[in-house]
Every structure is written in C-alpha cells, then in structure tokens.
Symmetry: C2
Subunit: 512 residues, 2 copies
C-alpha cells in the first residue's frame, strides 16, 4: 500500500467521507488512490476558493470535517481567504496539500512556494509528512486536531514521494476529547452576577446559538432581565418559527453602540468581546460601553449548551415558550430590503439552510426572517468576501437534499462564481439570490464616512456597471439555470418555484 492509499483509508476510518478537490500533478497518486479505495465522495471545484469554502459550509452543517485536496503552495494560496473565514468560524477541516517531493523541494522548481508558511496563518494544526509509513498516522492526528473543540483547520502537507512510496500504514481514528466543562464555580459566579446586577448583556456565539442553547439562554434572560445578543457574524444559528429568536450585534459602530448602550456587565458565552470590523478615526474599537465589565461564562472550546443549561438551572429559571410571531405574506412592489426579508419569511421552505453573504443590501434580512420556517443561518465569519457561493455548495452536500438559499451580494459573488458549476455538476438544491445593485455599496458608504465628496475616479472604483454583469448568462455558461427578477412578484414566483425543483437555480434580483 502506498502512502496515498493509506491516507484515503485513514480518512475514511476517521469518518471523513467527503473531499472537496482541485487536484494537480502532485496529487495524482491521491487521485489514483481515491479510485482504488471506495467510499469517498469527491466534489470537484474549478478554483480552490470553491474547495475551501465548500469544506467550510460542509462542516458547519455536517458537524464533522470534510477533507480538501489542494495543489502545492499556490493552490493552497488560492484557498486561503476561505480558510481565513473557516478559521474565524472554528470550522473543522482537514486540508491535504500535495507538494514537491521531499528531495525535489531543494531544487526550487517553478511551482515551489512556502506551503507551510501559507498554511500556518490559517490553520490550528500544520504538519508536513516526511515518509509514506507516517502518512496514515499524520492523517489521523490531523483529523483529531480538526475535531477537537472548538474545531480547527488542520493542514497536512504531502510531498509527492510520501504518496507514491510503498509502506503506507492505515491508522485508526484517534479519540476526540469532549469539549471542556465550565467549572461549577464559574456558573455560580455568573449566576450571582445575574441575580445582583442590572444592565447585563449576554453575548452568544458558536454552539450557544443552537436551538437548545438559545432556549436555555431565553430562560436566563426571562428570569433575570439580562439582554441577549448574538455575535455579529456567526457560523450557524438555528432559528425560525418555534425557536427563540435572537438579534445580532449590529455591524456598524453607531447601531452597535446603540444596541449595547447602558450595558454595565457583558457576559460572553462562546463569543468574543464585540470589536469594530475596522477602525475609524475617533471611534472606539470595541462595540460595548468602555466602562462595562466583561465576564466570560464559557469559552468557545467549552460545552456551551451545557454551560447555559447549568446556568439556567442554577438560577432556577423556568422554561419559556418561544414567541409566536405573525406569519408573513410575500411582499409586492419594488425589491427593497424589507420586501425581500418579508418574502423570505413567507416562502422559505421548512428546514432550509440560509447562507448569508448579502453584505450591504442584506443587513436587514436577518431580523425580518425570525418568523420564517425553521432553518439554519450560516454567515460570512471572517469578512473575506467570496465564501457565500462555495459555502452554499458545501452546505448543500452536507444537507443531503435540504434546500440551501444563498443571499449573495453581486460584487462578492464574483470572487468565487465558479462554485455554480459545482452546484450544477452535483445537482445540488441551491437557490442563489444575487442581490444585484451593480456597485460595491458597502464601499460607497465607507467612502462617504471618509468625508470625501467623491469624483469620477473614486466612483469608478466602486462601480460594477460598465459593463453590467449579467448573472443569468454567467450562470448559464456554468451550467446553472437562472432568471432575472425586477420586482417582488417576479421574485416570489421564481423563488417559490426554485425551492421545489431539484438542482440549483439563480435569481438575479435587481435592487437599488
């Protein structure tokens, strides 16, 4: 057995049965091994950002890692932005990066690059295999590292001779330690704080945003008067009718500081102290009052559901039913943010997965969809645009037929538009809504913040017209059917039909 075969067998033994791939020459032995070893689903991406973003979306839904197959330093580099997003989401992932043979690397062939250096910045675990007989063990350790709470990106670099040499040994799965428990003393301290203090804001992130954890957080809030907010960007929120809604810390400083105004105590639950996405002259860096005291109930690597349950029990807080929210009707008229949110709330199918890279236009879509059918909401976590279409692709693979609805800004869509081809190839149930305002709207807003009265040069750099992008044609060229909607009636019709058909569909929604 060569190293490549031991790798495939070991990944399967560790429970990894899906591989997002963009292979190159140095990965041919891995490709051949995949052929010989049954059981691994290979999903091809035409660009590495699709591969890593796909693995990100997959893990968020599957609750276990996918593998990726990438080609040398530059192939890894093409996937870095979505690995950055995955890192911020604590995504479990095992990257297999084929690279120059150990003895060929010193010759500095043209494609040779600093593969380890690229990997290190985005990975919680990096190793370069050095011989075939260790590849299986390396893969088992990589998977263990990836799956250890809170989850991380593990990157295993595989010089080609470690793949083709004989002597591969299949490794068994290594035990994954359970997430740490929050010490009872910590639970008691936070309970005391909540009993004795007013103006407490609990900020929830990661596993604290699953339905059960949110129900317990709601018990705590109801019993103590504490306010609840989710982090600004979250890997997965379970929400919709019958679940406890939660608002997020707003993106911009003004609204964020308004939302946290008066807070004297911040309690973090698997969340980080809210930080401004960027600095602005004279503006505070954190989005909670400067004199608020920050406490931590549990860190992201803890069992956050258990911590919230224990805290609610410690407080003797009774269960509270989720609010009954009025059902929405599909909106008519012009496609404003409010109208799109209303139609989504009305038409989102049961058990959908929403992938949110809607950027400027979509800021209001989240609060408007609390009353939609139960769904998962996956958002861009690292701010590196170009994760939406790939994440939707991976989420659809993991979702096994669940409908994925991608809320996708047009400028951001163009970073990894190749993902649509993979959706067509894999016949994935993805409805992509391109929110086409034909500009980098967020940047126009930022330019205004700079205080400039923009002239032609500046406006040209933020303008996606000239020529207009035609997403229906682009999608068609990539094998995905689509149609344009100019008003809400057209949108409602296209959307409702799209979610009942098999396979992907693109709606280019013309918005202002």
């Amino acid at each position: 057995m060569n190293g490549a075969e031991s790798l495939v067998h070991t990944l399967l033994a560790c429970g990894i049965d899906t591989c997002f791939a963009n292979p190159g020459t140095s990965e041919m032995h891995f490709v051949a091994a995949l052929d010989r070893v049954p059981g691994m689903r290979c999903v091809l991406g035409l660009f590495e950002g699709v591969v890593t973003g796909g693995a990100d979306g997959y893990a968020r839904i599957a609750g276990k890692p996918a593998a990726t197959l990438l080609h040398c330093g530059p192939g890894l580099a093409n996937g870095l932005a979505n690995l950055h997003n995955g890192r911020r989401a604590h995504t479990m992932m095992v990257n297999c990066v084929g690279d120059q043979a150990t003895y060929h690397r010193p010759l500095d062939a043209p494609l040779t690059a600093d593969t380890e250096g690229f990997a290190r910045a985005v990975s919680g675990w990096v190793r370069t295999a050095t011989r075939a007989r260790d590849v299986g063990r390396d893969a088992a350790v990589a998977t263990q590292a990836a799956m250890t709470a809170p989850g991380t990106i593990a990157t295993l670099i595989l010089p080609s001779d470690t793949c083709w040499d004989d002597g591969g040994v299949v490794a068994a799965a290594l035990p994954v330690p359970p997430p740490s428990a929050t010490p009872p003393q910590r639970i008691a301290e936070i309970a005391r704080l909540l009993r004795t203090q007013k103006n407490v804001l609990m900020i929830l992130g990661n596993g604290a945003l699953r339905a059960g954890a949110l129900a317990d957080a709601s018990r705590i809030a109801a019993a103590t008067g504490a306010k609840l907010l989710a982090q600004q960007s979250n890997n997965r929120i379970e929400r919709g009718r019958g679940r406890h809604p939660i608002e997020r810390v707003p993106y911009f400083g003004g609204p964020a500081l308004a939302a946290t105004k008066g807070t004297e105590h911040v309690v973090l639950v698997g969340a980080r102290k809210p930080v401004a996405f960027f600095a602005y002259p004279g503006q505070p860096g954190y989005h909670v009052p400067e004199d608020a005291t920050v406490h931590e109930l549990a860190r992201v690597e803890h069992d956050l559901s258990a911590a919230l349950r224990a805290l609610a029990d410690e407080l003797g807080a009774p269960a509270v039913p989720p609010p009954v929210l009025p059902r929405a009707e599909p909106a008519s008229g012009a496609p404003t943010g409010e109208a799109v949110g209303q139609s989504l709330a009305a038409l989102l199918p049961e058990d959908a997965i929403v992938v949110d890279e809607s950027v400027s236009f979509g800021r209001g879509l989240f609060p408007l969809t609390h009353a939609a059918a139960p769904h998962d909401w996956l958002a861009l976590t690292g701010g590196a645009i170009g994760d939406g279409l790939p994440m939707a692709t991976g989420a659809a693979v993991a979702g096994k037929g669940r409908r994925v609805v991608t809320l996708q800004a047009d400028g951001s869509a163009m970073y990894t538009i190749q993902a649509l081809w993979t959706q067509a190839r894999e016949r994935l149930n993805v409805t992509t809504i391109i929110l086409a305002n034909r500009k980098y709207a967020i940047l126009l807003n930022e330019l205004a913040n700079v205080g400039a009265n923009p002239g032609r040069t500046a406006l040209d750099m933020l303008d996606l017209g000239n020529p207009d992008l035609d997403f229906v044609r682009i999608a068609s060229g990539l094998g995905v059917e689509g149609a344009r909607a100019e008003n809400m009636a057209q949108f409602n019709d296209l959307f409702a039909r799209s979610v009942t058909r098999d396979g992907p569909f693109v709606i280019e929604l013309m918005v202002a």
Copy 2:
C-alpha cells in the same frame, strides 16, 4: 496632506501611473486620494488574482512597475498565486495593501490576518508603514526595490491610520542602480570554454531573450557551434519574422533530456539550471545530463544584453542574419495543435503580444510560430495557473493599443475568468482563444504516468464536462463578445476579424 495623498503623489513622482485595484474599506482614503490627485490610471479587477496578474503583465510590457491596491491579508491572499508567478518572472510591482489601523490590529477584528506573512513568501521587499509621515518615503523605497535589477515584487502594507493621518510627505524618486556588469574575466573564461570545448549548451532566460540579446547569442552560436535554448518558461521573448528564433527546454523530462543530450557544458545566461517541474519516481530532477558542468555567464540581475554582446565581441563573432522562414498560410480542417499554430503564424498581427497559458494543448504552438509577424511572447512562469487572462489584461493596458492574443487552456481560464470584465470595461484589444478540450488534459497525462488504469472517480476529477462550460455565454455575462469555432475555417475568420476590431473578443475553440 494625509498619508494616502503622499502615497499617490510619491508613486507618480516615481513614475508609477497605473494602479490595478480591488479596494476595500481600509483603502477608502487611498481611493479618495486617487480622486484628488490627478494622473493615476486605476484599473478595477473583480478579484485580486486579476489585479496581481494584471500588474504582472503590465510590467512585462511596460518595463516599469504598476501599483496594486489590495484589501487586508485575505485580499492579498487572493492575489498570491499570481504574485508567485510574478516572483518567478522577476516582475517589478509595488503592492499597496491596506490593513487594520496600527492600534486596531491587536483587537483581532474578523478580517485581521497575517498580512506580512502572506506578503513575505512572494515579495523581495516587505514593509509595514507605521505613521503617515513615513508613507511617502516608504513608497519611494518600495519602488526603488521593485525596479532594482532583476526586478522584484515590493509589498507595502498600509495600516489605515497611516493613510488618514495628516503629516504626509511626498518623497522624490530614489535612484535605481543600473544592472551589474559581468566582470571581463568571466567573459574571457566563458569565451575560452566556447573556443576549446564541444557540446556546449547556452541556456538563456529573462533579458537574454530580447531581440538584441538573441542576435548576439546567435553570433556566438554561429561562431562556436554552441547550442542555444531558452528556459522552459519565460517572462518575455521577442520573436517572430526578422528576429532570431530560439527553442525552449521542453516541459517534460523525456523530451527535455533528449534536447540536452550529449551536453558537456551548460552556460547559463540569466537562466537557472533546468529543473523538472515535478519529481517522478526514478526520474532525474534536472533536465541536463548529470555529468554536464554548469557555468554561469551572467546572473539575472546582470546586464544580460551587455554580457552577450561582450562575449560575442570577445569571440570576434560576426553578425549573422536571422533566418528567412517560409510564410505560413492559415490552416484548414480540424483544430489540431499544428493547425492552430499554423494559423497563428499566418494571422498574428504585427507587434502583437501573445500571452501563453495554453498548457497541454498549446505545447506545440511556440515552435510553430517562429515565422509569425514580430511579437512578444509572455508565458506562465511560476506554474500557478490563472495568470493568462489577467496577464493579458495588464499587457494590453501597457501595450496602449497593441493587440494581445491570449492562448488559454479552458481549465486554467476558470481560475480568473473575472479578468474578461476588466477587458470589457477598459476596452482592451485582447483576443482570447479558449482552447476548450473540457478536461484537465495535463492531469490525465500525469495520471497515466502514475501507471494507474483510471476508473470513474479519477476520471471525474479531471473532467470539465458535466456540465459543459460555455465560454461564450460566460464572456457575454461579463460584457465581452465571443463566438465558438468548431473548425479552422471558423477560427481563421473569427481570429482575423477580432484583431481588427477595438476591444476584447473571445473565441471558444473546440479542440480534442
């Protein structure tokens, strides 16, 4: 004057008047400054790979650097693959990477990443500016570094407060030292070698592949019997009718070793000892005979034209006229590699720029086009596919109306397909020939080398059909007209018409 304005003024003072840009929030002060300071041509890319590849192509033709404008670590990461290619081409480039404010970086906001780490692996010069008053000086040093022979990628990281703070100081251009001269003793040594030894192979790279240098190299070859070859991948070769043709070291080991067989002495002229792109079991790493002695006439940072001229003079070698090659007629019939090469040789317009990312199908196009009208040939230098369309875009900007002809493999085209939009926006004279074989042909060949009898899983991972990509529709969605050619008559007609029209055109040539 703020730091951003001092940056723009300084770049202009240093002769940089073109900026390939994909700005984000942290670059808004730079965008505003570009608005206030006239003179910089800004070329927008929808993805950073287009930006860095554009700057690569620009510098190869302009002979001076362009600036790039990139957004934080992840934006730089998206441009790394083409920076890798540019590094291998010794491309002059000044990257301006906006980043978190100095005092905001420690707060680790979501988009914060290891910007310096990403930059270091691909840049010959990296600096993070620390205050507004130094930004001008930093930009002048960056430009000097980029332009110092043999040329390099300089990356200046600009925390946003260094851009918005007042106190910017415009810096004057710093002197760029001339390329080093090869010592006369070295010239004499190599002359002695050429006079006394047989079976000498001179391998030329970089500046040794300009028309004048090739004429002097041909004098040397004619006078001494030395054989000439160009490196496998080259940043720019001046060639075509009236110039001295040169073959390249073949890509694959077998043909490369056949081409260098019998060589006893290798003389490198701005080139590296030919190395295999990848290792293969039992195959040698270098593509010259193991017992050949390697000499170096001049390194890439030397004045290579002067070295060849001095060597030819030292040898007393008379001038030799370039060969008169028979004019080709456009080919008919099926679009084989030979046919496409023949038609290109016949139809390439005078003073064209050919950008070659033709990979498998196009290996034969170079030798078939020696007799084409005079042109520049730019090739992928670092093996990171996805440079072709961006490089063509940048070359067209620098070419100021010269026709660019891109020989583009279909799989590779999909890495940075967004470049077509920039071509449309800037109305660039680019004819893109997509060589559509609907598979990763190079990898099928590599898989065969592995000795595997590929099954469904392996073949699926190398297959670009299912669904078929439709490049005419994709191009149309990006604002570029195109048409499909199924045979050479259609190709000849589309090609001939495309090179006489203003603006870009895509020919999807269906090849086997």
